[in-house]
């Protein structure tokens, strides 16, 4: 008996019971579909995180205080100055302090927003253009002038329909003059509005707002991508010297480059993707049990047919292959429909629900393969049961 004959015979008996065949493969359809969609959503969000982190800046290196309990932030302006003086691989450099949920008053309006104390290089590192007027300069930093640059969201909230440049605002209790408005950047990967921000000169922020010598982080751009490693090593050694750390002592700061940040950020979503895929995988196995159940019923119901086939010369193996190929074809067809459904759902989510989805061919291939494996695994037992029937008993079965 050839494979094509086998497939023809199996297709015939599958089509003879269309409704039941459909319900049987429904488990596989849902299983395959949910695996693909889950992974597509996970990979889609990962791809978006990557894009956003790439947009964080070019050849970015960040220095941050250590995380966790019992750690102390020891980053200061001295570190920033030493880096600026001694480094040879950096194209741009800025210290940064952040004040979150800070009340800002402008005219009759007020708005709670994030206030960043930064240096002029910040725009260069972030590749962030101005919308209106100019960013503050090194001079503003040195003289600690009270000037501010607004993100578009803040500008609209405080000065709706007005030109904010030249206006006066109050951050906490300190009055500032608005000197410029940033171009709009939109939401980031986590969904927060990047334009909901006010930027002031770093030194001004330290003196007037945080009143603390500590700075939150240092961000830098390496001269080019090939020099990232050297730059990172150099930054580390300069800071160790600056903090007077002896060889072998644990650093009280962490230096990360863009790809390391990316790794940290995508780790969570990767874990989540795996978890979702695993849960969806369970539904695929449940679908397989559904196939086994129906195949067992089918073997009992078709005992007479098996007897007839045996009486006209079917060998045990023929019967085994027939039932096995039926369950494999059922699960493969289910897999195929599941894939199509998943592609459709992924498209709908992307287009109408704006959820990023990314359907990879590897996942499609894997879930199709898994569907076939489920068909073989759960089809084996019923098929064997059918093949081991005794022809006389099978023929007499009522």
């Amino acid at each position: 008996m050839t494979v094509s004959k086998l497939i023809t015979a199996s297709m015939r008996s599958i089509l003879r019971n269309k409704m039941r065949s459909f319900l049987t493969s429904l488990g596989i359809i849902i299983g395959v579909c949910s695996v693909i969609v889950m992974v597509a959503v996970g990979q889609g969000s990962q791809a978006q995180i990557k894009k956003q982190i790439a947009a964080m800046g070019t050849n970015l290196i960040m220095v941050m205080p250590p995380r966790g309990p019992n750690t102390v932030n020891r980053l200061t302006m001295t570190d920033v100055q030493k880096l600026r003086a001694d480094s040879s691989y950096l194209a741009a450099l800025t210290g940064e302090v952040r004040l979150s949920s800070t009340n800002v008053v402008g005219g009759p309006n007020y708005w709670s927003t994030s206030v960043y104390g930064v240096e002029p290089d910040y725009l260069k590192i972030k590749d962030w253009p101005m919308k209106e007027a100019e960013f503050f300069t090194d001079k503003d930093l040195q003289s600690r002038t009270k000037v501010a640059v607004l993100g578009t969201t803040v500008a609209e909230k405080l000065f709706p329909g007005e030109d904010p440049v030249g206006q006066s605002i109050r951050i906490l209790t300190t009055p500032f003059t608005v000197v410029g408005v940033l171009a709009s950047k939109g939401a980031n990967a986590m969904g927060s509005d990047q334009d909901d921000v006010v930027m002031v000169p770093l030194d001004t922020a330290i003196n007037r707002l945080t009143k603390d010598r500590k700075i939150g982080s240092i961000e830098m751009s390496a001269v080019n991508e090939g020099l990232m490693d050297q730059a990172q090593a150099e930054v580390t050694s300069i800071l160790r010297q600056s903090h007077k750390l002896s060889d072998g002592a644990t650093a009280d700061f962490s230096v990360m480059n863009q790809s390391q940040i990316l790794q940290t950020a995508s780790q969570t979503s990767q874990t989540l993707t795996t978890l979702l895929a695993a849960i969806a995988g369970v539904s695929l196995i449940v679908g397989g049990i559904g196939i086994m159940n129906i195949m067992l019923v089918s073997v009992t119901e078709r005992t007479r047919e098996i007897g007839i086939r045996m009486s006209v010369g079917a060998r045990r193996r023929d019967i085994l292959w027939q039932f096995l190929s039926e369950s494999v074809i059922l699960s493969l067809l289910g897999g195929l429909v599941g894939i199509l459904l998943a592609l459709f759902l992924a498209y709908v989510m992307k287009t109408f629900m704006h959820t990023p989805t990314l359907v990879s061919p590897a996942v499609i291939a894997a879930s199709a393969g898994f569907a076939a494996a489920v068909g073989i695994f759960f089809g084996w037992y019923p098929a064997r049961k059918a093949a081991n029937l005794y022809p006389i008993d099978a023929l007499r079965y009522e």
Binding site: R12, E305, I308, V312, G313, I392
Partner: protein
């Protein structure tokens, strides 16, 4: 030439602690072209004999030579191949695949053909159905056919591989008189053309269409005699139709 040769056949079943002796030593020869009826009350062992002849069951003792082939050492797979090549089954309950067209049912034995020769299953099945007079109903499903027609499909299926003999188990048991005549006249036609037919039946009227009647009792042959005054089913069919028409006319007037 003897197509079927049974020598010292015994078949014992063990049911719990009791040994049931279904056949207690039986010799039988069937020559090519014979038309044999096996009769006997239930429990006489005729079903067991039929299973043995059909290579569905192996005797406990004795040898069965079918068309020159000794079967006692055959494996289950070889048994399956013998059934496919040498035996055409016709059952009481027709045993057609439901929801499957007549032609697909007849193709079934060709589906399990193991010889390497090329066969045109559709053409062979069509020819077999034409031979039993169902050339116009190739695509009918069993539930669209009368009992007699279904049994003719089953006979076409039994014939399609040109087996050594046809083994029929109560082929008219589920049929009314008209269909019985129909089916029996078909068997007689096939036999006239040289096909060997072995038939199990408990109806003496049906056995009267055969050429030889073997009667079994308690697992052994008690009589084996040629049929005298053999009847032609075609004549009986014509007679039945005439009387039926007469009755119908009588009702009308």
């Amino acid at each position: 030439m003897a197509i079927i040769e049974l020598r010292g056949i015994k078949r014992h079943y063990v049911v719990g602690e009791i040994v049931v002796k279904a056949i207690r030593g039986l010799d039988l020869n069937v020559e090519t072209g014979e038309f044999v009826a096996i009769m006997g009350p239930s429990g006489s062992g005729k079903s067991t004999l039929m299973n043995t002849l059909g290579c569905l069951d192996k005797p406990t003792e004795g040898t069965y030579t079918l068309d020159g082939l000794e079967t006692s050492k055959a494996s289950p797979d070889e048994f399956a191949d013998i059934r496919n090549e040498k035996i055409g089954f016709v059952f009481q309950g027709f045993n057609l695949l439901s929801r499957t067209s007549a032609i697909e049912n007849v193709e079934l034995p060709l589906f399990y053909d193991r010889s390497k020769r090329k066969i045109d299953a559709k053409a062979l099945a069509k020819a077999a159905l034409e031979e039993v007079g169902l050339g116009a109903r190739l695509d009918h499903k069993p539930n669209q056919l009368s009992g007699g027609q279904q049994q003719r499909v089953a006979i076409a299926r039994a014939m399609v591989k040109d087996p050594a003999f046809i083994l029929a188990d109560e082929p008219t048991g589920n049929l009314d008189s008209e269909m019985t005549y129909e089916v029996m006249s078909l068997f007689q036609t096939l036999n006239d053309r040289g096909k060997t037919v072995v038939m199990v039946t408990h109806e003496p009227e049906v056995a009267a269409y055969t050429k030889r009647v073997i009667t079994m009792r308690d697992g052994a042959i008690v009589s084996d005699a040629p049929v005298e005054n053999r009847k032609r089913a075609v004549d009986d069919l014509a007679e039945w139709k005439r009387s039926h028409d007469y009755l119908a006319e009588g009702e009308r007037t």
